[in-house]
Symmetry: C2
Subunit: 370 residues, 2 copies
Amino acid sequence: MSIRYPLETPCVLIDTEVMQRNIAAMAAVAAKHGIKLRPHAKTHKLPSVALRQVAAGAVGVTVAKVSEAEVMAAGGVRSIFIAYPLVTPGKIERAVRLSEQIELIVGVDSLAGAQLLEETAARLGATLQVRLEIDTGLRRTGVGFEAALGIAGEIARLPHLRLTGIYTFRGAVLSGKPTLDLEAAGFEEGTLMALLAKRLRAHGHAIVDVSVGSTPTAAYAAAVDGVTEIRPGTYVYQDRMQAKFGVCGLDDCAGSVLVTVVSRPAADLAILDGGSKTFATDVQPGTQPLQLVGFGHVVGLPDAVLARMNEEHGMLELGPEAQAVDLKVGDQLRIIPNHICSTVNLHNEVVMVQGDKFERVSVSARGMLE
Amino acid sequence: MSIRYPLETPCVLIDTEVMQRNIAAMAAVAAKHGIKLRPHAKTHKLPSVALRQVAAGAVGVTVAKVSEAEVMAAGGVRSIFIAYPLVTPGKIERAVRLSEQIELIVGVDSLAGAQLLEETAARLGATLQVRLEIDTGLRRTGVGFEAALGIAGEIARLPHLRLTGIYTFRGAVLSGKPTLDLEAAGFEEGTLMALLAKRLRAHGHAIVDVSVGSTPTAAYAAAVDGVTEIRPGTYVYQDRMQAKFGVCGLDDCAGSVLVTVVSRPAADLAILDGGSKTFATDVQPGTQPLQLVGFGHVVGLPDAVLARMNEEHGMLELGPEAQAVDLKVGDQLRIIPNHICSTVNLHNEVVMVQGDKFERVSVSARGMLE
C-alpha cells in the first residue's frame, strides 16, 4: 500500500488513458453497427471530456438540464439533446435561444408538455426539434406504447415543434424487472423501440432517430435493426456498479476517489476522510440486482469494506488480508465508487491523471440543476 | 396547491424568518445553562449565516475541513474549531497559518495524529490549540474512555500542542444504540464527557472545554453539570429527520426544496424535476430509528410520497388526498428533505426568502472537502 499521490484528499482521480480507452471502445460499438453515439454528459459534466467523445466519433451529447446544455455549448459542443421535459417558459426560452446557435433537440413526454413548448416557441417565432420519450418500464417520465401514437399525432399538429425521433431510458431491466441478463434486456429495449418507430412511420411520422441504451445495455441494443442512436453515460469513467454488471473490469474504471486514513481506532477498522459528502449514496449496498458490498471497491484491499459513512467519515472494516497490511494514519487509499456519476457530482473539481502528471479540472456543469 | 415562486427549479429555499427563530432558540438554550454555543457550519456552509449565529450569541463555529475553516475565516468568523483529525502536512500547515489570524482549535484523536500536528507546528514555530476527540459509541474517530488518559498524557508532552478540551459526536444514541429518547441520550452523553473531564483534570490536564451535543441531544446535554459547549448544526434550518425526532415541528423547517411537476404519467404518479442530485440519499427511508417514509415531506400533500429517485427524476406517489388536488405539469411543490445538510451540499446556491423577496446566495463552502 505504498501509493502516495501529491494531492490533498479526498479527491476524484480520473485516469485519462483508461478514459480514452473507454471512449474509443464505445465509439467502436456505434461504428460497428453504423449508428450514432450521443453520450450522456451526466457522468463527467465536463465540456473537455465531451469534446474527446466527439473527436472519437460521437455526434454530440445528451444532457438532462438546459443549464447543462448551456455549459456544454459554451464549451464547444455543437449538437445537444436535452433528454428531459422542459415545462417552464423560462427554461424553454433558454432552449430556443440555444437552438439558434447549435443543433438542439428537446425531449417531450406529454401533450401538456408539448403545448408548453409550442407556446414559447411560437412567441419567439422559432421551431423546436423534439423527440417523444417512451416509458419502457421505469415508470418515471415517458408515455406508454399505446398512448404514443395519439400524442405523436397531437404533436404533429403543433406548428412550432418538429417531431424527429423517439427515445427511452431503461437501464438493466428485462420484462419490467431488474436483471443481470444485459443481452436480453438490450435486445428487448431495442426491439420495442424499433417496432414503435415502424408503427409511427406507418402513420406518417418522419421518425429519424430511435435513441436507446445506457451503459449496461448499449452494446446489445445497438445491434437491433432499426435502432439509430445509443446514449450511454457511465462508460466514460465506468464504476463498480458497471463492473458488477460485467460491462467492464475494475481495471476499466477510470474514476476513483483518493482518500486518507485519518484514524485507526481498532485493528479491524480504519477511518477515511471521505463520507457521504464524498461518495454518493444513491446506489446502496445490498440491493437488487447487484448486491454490492459496501460503498466502493478498495483498490488493493479486496477484503476491506466501506461499510458505513457519516458526512465526512468513511468507516472501513478490514478483513484478515487488509489487517495484514498495517495501514497507518496518513496512508492513502484509492476507492472505486459504486456510482461514479453521482459521486463526481459531489466534487467541485476532479484531478486528471496522466502518468505522473496531475491536472485539477473544475467540474463546470456540476450542480447545474435548472 | 397554488404556490408559484418566481424561480426556476429545483432549488433550495431558506425561509430567513424561520431560520432566525431557530438561531435564537438554540442561543437561548446555551444562555440558559451559561455555556458556549459553537454551531457546526456543515449545514449551511455559509459565512453569512455563521455571522448571524455569532450575532445571536455563538462563540464561533465548528467545521470538519481546513478548507471550510478558510472560507469561514475569510467571511469574518473569528473563532473556529476544526472537529476532525488533520493528518497531512499540507492541511496542518494551512491550519497553523489560519491560527495566526483567528482563534483556531483542531481536533486530535490519536497519538499518531498528535505527532503529525506536532511536527508541522514545530517546523513553523507555532503552537496549536487542540481538543481530544472521544468515541462515545459511534465507532468512527475518537479514542475510548480508557485510552483517553494515556493519550492526553502523551499530548501534554508535545511542546507545540496545547490540549484545552475534549469533544465527542454522538447523535441520538443511548447505551450504544439508536434511540428516540433524546433526553436520556443527551444526559448520558453529557455525563460521560463531564466525568472524563474531571478525571483528566485530576491528572493535571487543564481541560477548559467539554464540548458535546448535536441537534437532537444538545438541549439535554447542555443541562448536564460540567458540559461547557454544545455544537449542534442542523437546528439552523431543521429538517424532516429532526421533526421526526420531535426536536422541532415541520413548521420550524427553514429549508425546503422547490420542485416542478414535469410529467403526470398516471393518476397516482407525478414526476418531479429533482432526484438524487437534488435530494440527498444518505438518510434512507425505512431505516432505524426514524422509519421515514420516502425522501421528504411534501408540504400540503401529506399522503404524497417521494418514493423513488433517479439522478434527475423524483417519483411522487399520490395517495387519495393528493390525487384529489389535480396536480398539473408545471405546478410547483415544496418538499422538506429528510436531511438538509447533505441536501444543501448538492446545491451551488440557495435562495434566501424573506416575505416576497428572494436572494440567490452562493453556498461558498459547498464541496470544500480538503
